[in-house]
Amino acid sequence: MQPKLNRDAVSGLLLALIGAAAAYRAFDYGIGSAARMGSGYFPLLIGGALVLLGAVIGIGGLRASATPIHIPWRELTLIALSVASFALIISRFGLFPALAVSGVLACLADRDIGLRRTIGIVLFSCLLVWLVFVIGLNSPAALIKV
């Protein structure tokens, strides 16, 4: 069965929560007065407005019914894993290993990319990144660390 979601109600609630959390933290930073604004003054203003707006969007959303939602799980998971693997590998092993692992994971997001094409894409990515960032922009990133 297709999952359903009341987009406005949920997102309004989330926004109001974020606003409330920010406004709450803002008190710790010191509100000050309008003439001498503390560092919490502006975040309190913004957080408060966000609570208000989140509530308006959320309550407005309650009048509507939930609509079917389509979450591309495979793409979401694999692209997230691809970026995460890059972040994990880059510092310890260098640029090319990071590009290789994250590239393979990214290619897996689309089930129609075969093995040969994956290898081609990864090699091309390595070449392009090397040309643009290492040669072109003088990035100090190590290509491979052992």
């Binding site: 987009r7 003439a35 994250s102 990319i113 894409i121 091309f124 392009l128």
Partner: protein, 497 residues
């Protein structure tokens, strides 16, 4: 005239080469659906570390307006917009291609783009010095009011319901407060993470919400591509009646683009939508629209190119970027310690006029690039998205890492990528988020100064006539936005790259 004494005189061979490289790359990025100018400019922002500021800006803006030329190609050939401001061109461009008029459509969009761009540059070079001269006298309370007006406009004009737009600028402004508060030295929302002390990286925010967030949905969406019609050079020459039919829409579109371009949050996409709507309304044969009406491509393509150039007006004369792309461009300037604002043109005349001169040059190069090289661009369109997106992800990761030389920024991209995914899932637009992120801290700073001068009295602040007028405008737009929410009118373009 300064354009010639300072502008063209200051263009070196290096900057001419980078101008060419910029517009070439821009066209390439514009042609490929799913790759936007914003991502490309964010990735290449580090060039500012190696180039002098004028050349860096010449290069980055070349990508920006070059993408506007290339963007219509995919709209016409594949019914997929290359950039969001070319989405409306699909409506009549694609049917034209299906009727064997692809070549004519490509030619028309190129020369109307050139016309729109040229008029836009003219306005930019006359209006910017004028506005900045006026703005030098502006105090912090007026500046705060202008910023608030810009933020509200950006939130309400851009696509989607205005309420959600306002929520996005607020969220962006909140993200903008992360880091050390310059005024008090307090750490705000850093959660003890040292990498956050300097604030959230704009590039990571842009690449995450736009780049990664888009890829996740585009992998499936871009699968459905039809076959492409053939284009020969002979088929690219429009007939005399076809040519005449494009002239008035081209002029009207340019007018629309020139007015809409400088407005914060509006920019080329909104300009092209309005340009199309006007043509359809005043046409004696509106039923032809959507079936390959040549007016339906000439007006919006002139409008978005005029808007792309005039969008530089508030950026260069006031230091207020109206779009995320402009914000990144200002970020590139700030790397050099040049703070954009009303004094920019007076203090850096060579840079301002050099940039304008490069726009002329760039537009002429683009005219040359687009017509004879059309074969290359069409060949590029045959590359399926499944071969592009892994490369996009790789470039984003490596680019962000290069910028900061720390893995933390890559984690930020992951977080903001998830945010971008959620925004698309919940029908929010990420553009106002970025505008809030940029303008929020500027608003805070000016509000602080203004309230200090007026001893903490908002009433006192509003007693300055210019501030009052600006605030009234802001309230009017807010009211209009709230009322509009209940009307069923919706723009008929979908979400796009």
């Amino acid at each position: 005239m300064e354009l010639f004494t300072l502008g063209f005189a200051s263009l070196t061979l290096t900057s001419v080469v980078y101008c060419f490289a910029g517009v070439f790359l821009g066209t390439l990025i514009g042609v490929l659906p799913g790759v936007g100018a914003l991502s490309a400019i964010s990735l290449l922002m580090p060039v500012s570390f190696y180039l002098d500021p004028t050349t860096a800006l010449v290069f980055l803006s070349g990508i920006y307006y070059g993408a506007e030329y290339g963007g219509s190609t995919a709209s016409i050939m594949l019914n997929l917009p290359g950039t969001s401001s070319n989405a409306i061109t699909c409506l009549d461009g694609y049917p034209m291609a299906q009727n064997g008029k692809a070549g004519v459509a490509l030619t028309v969009t190129t020369y109307v783009s050139f016309f729109g761009g040229t008029v836009g540059i003219l306005l930019l070079s006359f209006l910017s010095p004028l506005i900045s001269r006026l703005a030098v006298a502006v105090g912090p309370s007026e500046y705060a009011a202008i910023l608030l007006l810009s933020i509200i406009m950006a939130a309400t004009i851009s696509d989607g319901p205005p309420m959600k737009g306002i929520a996005m600028v607020l969220l962006g402004a909140l993200l903008g407060t992360v880091g050390i508060d310059v005024n008090s030295g307090d750490y705000r929302f850093t959660f003890g993470v040292p990498d956050l002390f300097d604030g959230v990286s704009l590039v990571a925010l842009a690449l995450g919400t736009f780049g990664i967030g888009e890829v996740i949905f585009a992998i499936r969406a871009q699968k459905a591509r039809g076959p492409m019609p053939k284009v020969t050079f002979r088929s690219m020459i429009p007939s005399r009646p076809e040519f005449l039919k494009t002239l008035f829409p081209m002029v009207r579109g340019t007018g629309v683009g020139s007015v809409v371009g400088p407005l914060p949050g509006a920019g080329p996409t909104i300009a092209s939508l309005i340009g199309y709507a006007i043509e359809k309304r005043i046409s004696r044969t509106p039923h032809r629209f959507g079936k390959g009406a040549i007016e339906g491509i000439s007006s919006p393509e002139a409008a978005n190119n005029a808007a792309v150039q005039t969008a530089f007006i508030p950026t260069l004369s006031l230091g207020i970027p109206g779009s995320p792309t402009m914000a990144i461009m200002l970020g590139a300037l700030m790397i050099h310690g040049i703070s954009p604002g009303p004094k920019f043109i007076a203090e850096q005349p060579e840079m301002f006029w050099g940039l304008i001169a490069s726009f002329w040059l760039g537009n002429i190069i683009l005219l040359g690039l687009n017509l004879p090289l059309v074969g290359i661009w069409l060949w590029l369109l045959r590359i399926p998205y499944s071969m592009m997106y892994p490369v996009i992800v790789a470039l984003i990761c490596a680019g962000v890492f290069t910028l900061t030389n720390s893995a933390f920024a890559v984690w930020l991209v992951l977080g903001f990528g998830f945010l971008g995914f959620l925004l698309r899932l919940f029908d929010y637009s990420p553009a106002p988020l970025l505008i809030g992120f940029i303008l929020g801290p500027m608003l805070e700073e000016n509000l602080r100064r203004a309230l200090l001068i007026h001893r903490g009295s908002y009433i006192d602040m509003l007693s300055r006539p210019a501030t009052a007028v600006l605030m009234l405008l802001t309230v009017a737009i807010l009211l209009w936005a709230i009322l509009k929410r209940n009307s069923p009118v919706q723009a008929d373009d979908g979400h796009s790259a």
